[in-house]
């Protein structure tokens, strides 16, 4: 909700013509369709049939009054590129991206971190400590963790090289039907 309705309200309140985002095409197959200058119609609606050609590094920023853009400069980066850049520039990131023993519950095949009493356990669920980390972080508790022993960036990069799971596999909101991401983007999600 916050990344769709809340975002739309904030962009309207500020009357912004464009908003920059860090989404990458490599994350998900609907995002693989995105332009770097993603045209949004009135109401922040994304329509893949109304996107514009992007030849070389030329971008068309012409827009009408109620229209806007979402701009994704990192479109062609991969997950490994991001971490290589973080390492090269010494950027501080959340500890949740690195493996540590954390209280965890497994629900429908997804590892959820039990941070506090916001997560209500259901019958048969048991909290246990596991070495986990997050490849992607979204709203709690909609981000699933992966089991990992990677406590530093070099180990993360090696783990990514060997992984057979997609980057957003732990995002529960992506599993809401085959067209979950497409539907959310049409509603104004990043």
């Amino acid at each position: 909700m916050w990344k769709t309705d809340g975002l739309r309200q904030a962009l309207d309140a500020g009357r912004f013509d464009a908003a920059f985002g860090g989404a990458r095409r490599d994350e998900e197959r609907v995002r693989a369709k995105e332009r770097i200058f993603s045209f949004r119609a009135a109401g922040h609606r994304w329509d893949p049939k109304r996107q514009r050609p992007e030849l070389w590094n030329l971008y068309n920023a012409r827009k009408g009054g109620e229209e806007s853009f979402r701009i994704f400069p990192l479109s062609n980066w991969t997950e490994r590129d991001v971490w290589a850049y973080v390492a090269a520039e010494g950027i501080e990131v959340s500890e949740l991206y690195f493996a540590a023993p954390r209280p965890t519950v497994e629900r429908d095949g997804t590892l959820l971190m039990v941070e506090d009493d916001r997560l209500k356990l259901t019958a048969g669920e048991r909290v246990e400590e596991r070495w986990i980390r997050f490849r992607t972080l979204g709203c709690y508790p909609l981000s699933g963790a992966v089991e990992s022993r990677a406590t530093a960036i070099d180990a993360l990069l090696e783990e990514m090289r060997l992984s057979r799971a997609s980057e957003r596999q732990g995002r529960l909101i992506d599993r809401d039907g085959a067209a979950a991401m497409e539907r959310k983007k049409r509603e104004g999600y990043f």
Binding site: D26, A32, D81, A84, A165, S166
Partner: protein
């Protein structure tokens, strides 16, 4: 950083139903560049690694260009799957 590898850009061109998406999907699968969960979601139709829109899956065509990425020990690749029809 890894970006210092040679970068190769590949685009598939051809007419409608020539199999551009299927060819590039096969390329991703054979190079081990498609995650297992995405391969499972394809249900054997590798064109779906590129045709991510609902209308594309329903109609069996590519409506808009899609980009995928993979790398080998020697190079990084950006693969673009283009539609085969005039917009």
């Amino acid at each position: 950083m890894a970006a210092e590898k040679k970068l190769l850009r590949i685009v598939a061109c051809g007419s409608v139903d020539d199999g551009k998406s299927s060819l590039l999907g096969r390329l991703l699968a054979e190079t081990g560049s498609a995650p297992d969960d995405e391969l499972a979601a394809c249900e054997g139709d590798l064109s779906r690694l590129f045709d991510g829109l609902e209308a594309e899956r329903e109609q069996g065509i590519t409506i808009d260009v899609a980009y995928r990425y993979f790398e080998t020990a020697a190079a990084k690749f950006i693969v673009a799957d283009a539609p085969g029809h005039e917009q």
